[in-house]
């Protein structure tokens, strides 16, 4: 599957899950701020990605959980170096460069972009292909 094909399918998943227009879904759009995703929408997106691409997504694999609640990872409203390292390890599909200059926990949603979802799917597809 080409990157364009993956992108088109991811865009359709987001259009369906978030009731947004196709042209709102751009690579740099963030799921929360730009596309209005709330907590249950992330589960909806996971379900729809699994259905569309035929792979299984483990809990916390696409969107890590329990970072904000871990005192080692968050101090004074900012994600610690340890927390950033943990996020990067769990989310190799995301681009942290802009957010980590000022890693406020309330803005962590900025790393959940459409592009991160597309990259996640590409990695999953190539891992699935390698396993066969």
């Amino acid at each position: 599957m080409t990157r364009d094909e993956v992108y088109d399918k991811v865009r359709q998943v987001l259009v369906d899950a978030l009731s947004v227009d196709e042209d709102e879904v751009t690579p740099t759009a963030t799921l929360t701020t730009d596309l209005g995703a709330e907590s249950i929408d992330f589960l909806d997106i996971v379900f729809k990605l699994e259905q569309t691409f035929g792979f299984k997504i483990a809990q916390g694999e696409l969107f890590p959980e329990n970072v904000a609640q871990d005192p080692r990872y968050v101090k004074d409203g900012r994600v610690t170096a340890e927390g950033i390292a943990a996020l990067k390890e769990r989310m190799p599909h995301a681009d942290f460069s802009a957010w980590e200059k000022n890693p406020e926990i309330t803005k962590v949603g900025e790393i959940f972009t459409v592009d991160a979802v597309v990259k996640f799917v590409e990695r999953k597809l190539s891992a699935t292909a390698a396993a066969h």
Binding site: S39, I40, L43, D44, Q51, Q59, N66, Q69
Partner: protein
């Protein structure tokens, strides 16, 4: 007292599908307010079942399916109406039939698709006719609301739900 919007569960395939019926009655108070006669605009009363309550009927149907799949251990809360389309009204003397199908079930929640059908006793030979579709998402709230604690007992599946399950002949020990 929980407001129940289904009268009886008529089919259950555990984990897959649940079918329930609702008889719409003129004895229901809300039908008289929706829509009441409006003398000022010369409109006579038009008692119909509010669409929002049809959605609630599907939410209860699908919610029981989701709850039953998790042995009623999870607190199942309606989290999202993914789709709701209804093409005609349901009035007194008609029967609604809700069929909820499990699309996905996960430790965090579930998604269901649903078909709403209507039996109009003015035209019984037509049988149940599809009048809409309602797709929903449910959250297992204890698994989702990090840092928020809910009461231990399962307040979602209260006595009214147990009565409904029992009178529909469904075993549910919880």
């Amino acid at each position: 007292m929980r407001w129940m919007w289904i009268d009886r569960i008529v089919e259950l395939e555990p984990g897959l599908r649940l079918v329930a019926v609702k008889n719409v009655s003129l004895a229901e108070e809300h039908l008289h307010d929706h829509f009441a006669a409006d003398a000022e605009h010369g409109e006579s009363a038009l008692p119909v079942m509010p669409a929002s309550l049809i959605i609630e009927g599907m939410a209860q149907t699908a919610g029981i399916l989701v709850g039953h799949t998790g042995q009623f251990k999870e607190k199942v809360i309606l989290a999202k109406i993914s789709r709701a389309e209804l093409s005609r009204d349901a009035g007194p003397g008609m029967t609604l039939r809700y069929t909820a199908t499990m699309e996905r079930f996960d430790p965090l929640g579930a998604s269901t698709s649903g078909v709403v059908e209507l039996l109009d006793f003015a035209n019984p030979r037509a049988g149940f006719v599809e009048i809409g579709r309602i797709d929903l998402m449910f959250s297992h709230i204890d698994q989702n609301m990090a840092g928020v604690e809910f009461p231990e007992h399962n307040f979602v599946f209260s006595d009214s739900f147990r009565t409904l399950l029992r009178t529909s002949g469904i075993q549910a020990d919880f």
